[in-house]
C-alpha cells in the first residue's frame, strides 16, 4: 500500500501542496511529475511513487484544495455584509494566482466525472458560507448565482477592484433579492 506511515503521509501532503504551487505559477500545463517533485524538494521517484499518473496528482490536489476551502468557509464570519466583502476581496485579490489555480482545478472537474463530487462539495460550501447574509426564500438561489458570477468577474476582469466596490456589488445583489422576497 501507499502512504501508510506517518512520514509517507506527510510527504504525500507535501506533494499535494507542491502541485498547487506549480499550478499557481505555471498553470495546468506546468504540472508534471518532475516539476512537482522539484517544487516539493523530493526526488522524481517520490512523485511517481505516491501518484502514479498526472491525473492522480491533479485529482488529489483538487481534493486537498476543496478540503482547505471548505474549512476556510466553515470558519468564516459572514454575518455582516462588509465583512463578507472584505473576505471575498481578500480571497480573490490577496492571492489571485491561488484563486485562479483553484478554479482551474474545478474546471478539470467538468471533464472528469471522478472530480464531480469534489466540485459539488466546493460549490455547496460557498453557498453555506454566504447563507447567513442571504435571506432565505424563493429568490435566495438568485443571490447565490449572482455571487458566483461576481467572483468569476473579479477573477476574469479584475473588477470590482476595491473593497468598497465589492461591498456595493454585494449590497445590490442582496437588496434585489430581499425586496423580491418580501414582495
Amino acid at each position: 500500500m501507499v502512504a501508510t506511515t506517518a512520514k509517507g503521509e506527510a510527504r504525500r501532503t507535501e506533494l499535494q501542496d507542491a502541485v498547487i504551487r506549480v499550478l499557481e505559477s505555471g498553470g495546468l500545463g506546468a504540472v508534471t511529475h518532475r516539476a512537482v517533485a522539484a517544487e516539493a524538494r523530493v526526488p522524481l521517484a517520490a512523485a511517481t511513487y505516491y501518484f502514479a499518473s498526472i491525473d492522480d496528482l491533479l485529482v488529489s490536489a483538487l481534493l486537498r484544495v476543496t478540503e482547505q476551502q471548505v474549512a476556510l468557509f466553515a470558519h468564516l464570519d459572514c454575518r455582516s455584509l462588509t465583512d463578507t466583502a472584505i473576505v471575498l476581496h481578500g480571497w480573490v485579490y490577496g492571492s489571485r494566482a491561488s484563486a485562479i489555480a483553484q478554479y482551474e482545478l474545478l474546471f478539470l472537474a467538468m471533464r472528469r466525472d471522478s472530480l464531480r463530487e469534489a466540485a459539488d462539495l466546493w460549490y455547496r460550501s460557498l453557498e453555506g458560507a454566504i447563507a447567513p447574509i442571504v435571506p432565505s426564500g424563493r429568490y435566495a438561489r438568485v443571490a447565490a448565482l449572482a455571487i458566483d458570477g461576481l467572483i468569476l468577474r473579479m477573477l476574469w476582469r479584475g473588477e470590482p477592484a476595491s473593497v468598497g466596490e465589492v461591498t456595493a456589488a454585494l449590497r445590490d445583489i442582496l437588496r434585489s433579492v430581499h425586496r423580491s422576497n418580501s414582495a
Copy 2:
C-alpha cells in the same frame, strides 16, 4: 509575411478551427502542433509555419471563437424569456464540449494579458445579448451577474438541465431584478 494569399488565409482558418476541435475532445493539454495539424489534415510544418508557438495557436483560437460568439449573440432574438432559455439551453447542452472548450480558452485569458481584450469582448457581447430581456435600471447588473453564474452552474453541475428549469431560473432572476427596480 504569413497568410497573405487567399489560400494561406483559408488554411489559417482551418487550423484555428482544428484547435477548437482538439480542445473540445482532449482539453488544453491536447493542443499541440502535431495534434492540430492532424486534425486539420495538414502537415506538421503548416501548423508551425502559421503559428510559431503553442501560445499563438491558443490566442488565435480564442480570437476566432470570440468572433463567432459575438456574431452569434448579435443575431440572437432574446426578446422573449422562453426563447432566451431555449437558446441558452441549446448553447450549453447542445454542444457541451464546445461550451467548455470556450470557457477553457477564456480562462487562459486570466493568465495572459494579451487575451484580456478578447475576453472582455466576449463578456460584453453576452451582456448585449441578454440586454433586451433585462430591464434597465439600478439592478440590471445583478441580472447579468446571476445569468453568468447560471451559465457556469449549468456547465459545472449540469443543472438546471431541462429547458423548463432554465426558464424558471431565468424568470426568478428577472423577477427579482424587476421588482427591485420598480420598488
